[in-house]
Subunit: 229 residues, 2 copies
Amino acid sequence: MLSSRTRKRRLRDPERTRERLLQAGFREVHRSGFQSASIDAILAATNVTKGALYYHFESKEDLGHAIVEEVVAKLPRDRWLLPLQRSKDKDPINALIGIVRAIPARPEDVRGGCPLVNLAQEMSQLDEQFRKRLETIFRAWQEGIATALRRGQSQGTVRRDVVASETAGFLIALVEGYQVLAKNAQDPKVWNGGIGNIVGWLRSLRAPRQSRRGGRRLMSKGRVVKKRQ
Amino acid sequence: MLSSRTRKRRLRDPERTRERLLQAGFREVHRSGFQSASIDAILAATNVTKGALYYHFESKEDLGHAIVEEVVAKLPRDRWLLPLQRSKDKDPINALIGIVRAIPARPEDVRGGCPLVNLAQEMSQLDEQFRKRLETIFRAWQEGIATALRRGQSQGTVRRDVVASETAGFLIALVEGYQVLAKNAQDPKVWNGGIGNIVGWLRSLRAPRQSRRGGRRLMSKGRVVKKRQ
DNA sequence: AATAACATACATACTAGTTGGTATGTTAAG
DNA sequence: CTTAACATACCAACTAGTATGTATGTTATT
């Protein structure tokens, strides 16, 4: 027996139908925002009919919630949390620098903005259900970073005087803020500049070589400061 | 002759009508976003009729552009640029700290988010006219901060090794990023925490007391780092 | 193995409401 | 009297959502 996918494309494949709706819904929401996302546009993009959509999701909101939980939530998980866990032995600051540098800087990504921020910005005030789901994602993101930083502190690679959770929030705010600016500029150069400055700031979190005097560290090397003073 | 305002409320006062539409439009757009902003809701809020609105503005987009230029643009000007200019003699870092601390932390402000970011996030990808107007605002904001920082550098209060324009962008990203997080959390505490961390970072830009060795400076005192190591 | 019974997974056509926008009429101000 | 500043009524397009019908897949029965 061949798997349901490899056979001659079954006429009914509810899981696949649902997944296609989620993906197309995500794209439409990412483009237009949730409120302006058109159900008809999603259907047109998938060649799924309205009856099928409302069989799998009981309302537009329900579809939106599923998109957040099943599509949006994956983004920080894949881009941040998994890489951080995978590099358990290495210095978390190097890992974070790598992650930040790996955030897509292609024009279409920069211009579209971070889906998480897009949705949070639009919906958190309007729909508590959306907000809660988004906050869960933010929390997991922040805690993942904080955990990695604490690990770095016990390894001696991260300054002991930084407060992990606050620093994680700082980093997230920074990343999201620069993405907003880059999206508004509609210009990858803005984002690339942001990466440089974020990386510079990240380096300032490193513990000094031999941990002299309780882990103070200067704030040079960033793109915010000149390379040669 | 009494001024047009003090008389017994003239039946026709086009300037006032226009201004009321701008203000109500701003509030509606701030609440719902531009796309979902309802013309009818704006009319209901102002007791102005559709004919009057379309006499003053030729389309919804036109109204939106006017809102950006005449209402939104004032916000960073009033909150950032004017205070920075007014404190020409003082240390710009102190001025910036005061400005950041003065950003409203009332629940309704935090939950509504920064109107500039809201619009940028929603519209920059969709409507180039919107984007250009918003970018003008961001540019002026960034240049205002950069100018103040450079002034501080020649005064000797700001580290010489910081690149003013980059640092200004960093600060803006940070402020906007934290406002996004606070809006998503719908919680003023998140914003207040952000203020603390921003202020801490701002302090790290100060030139050392007697400008020893080319202006290096450590990054302590922030809320990101512990107060007593 | 054949088939009846049933539930799943859709498809089609429609509705009630809202949207931005307009055509045309009216009235106040100079 | 003229025209600037509205007011009213209306419209076509689009919205999410639904009622109803139908074809497919599964399961129980014989």
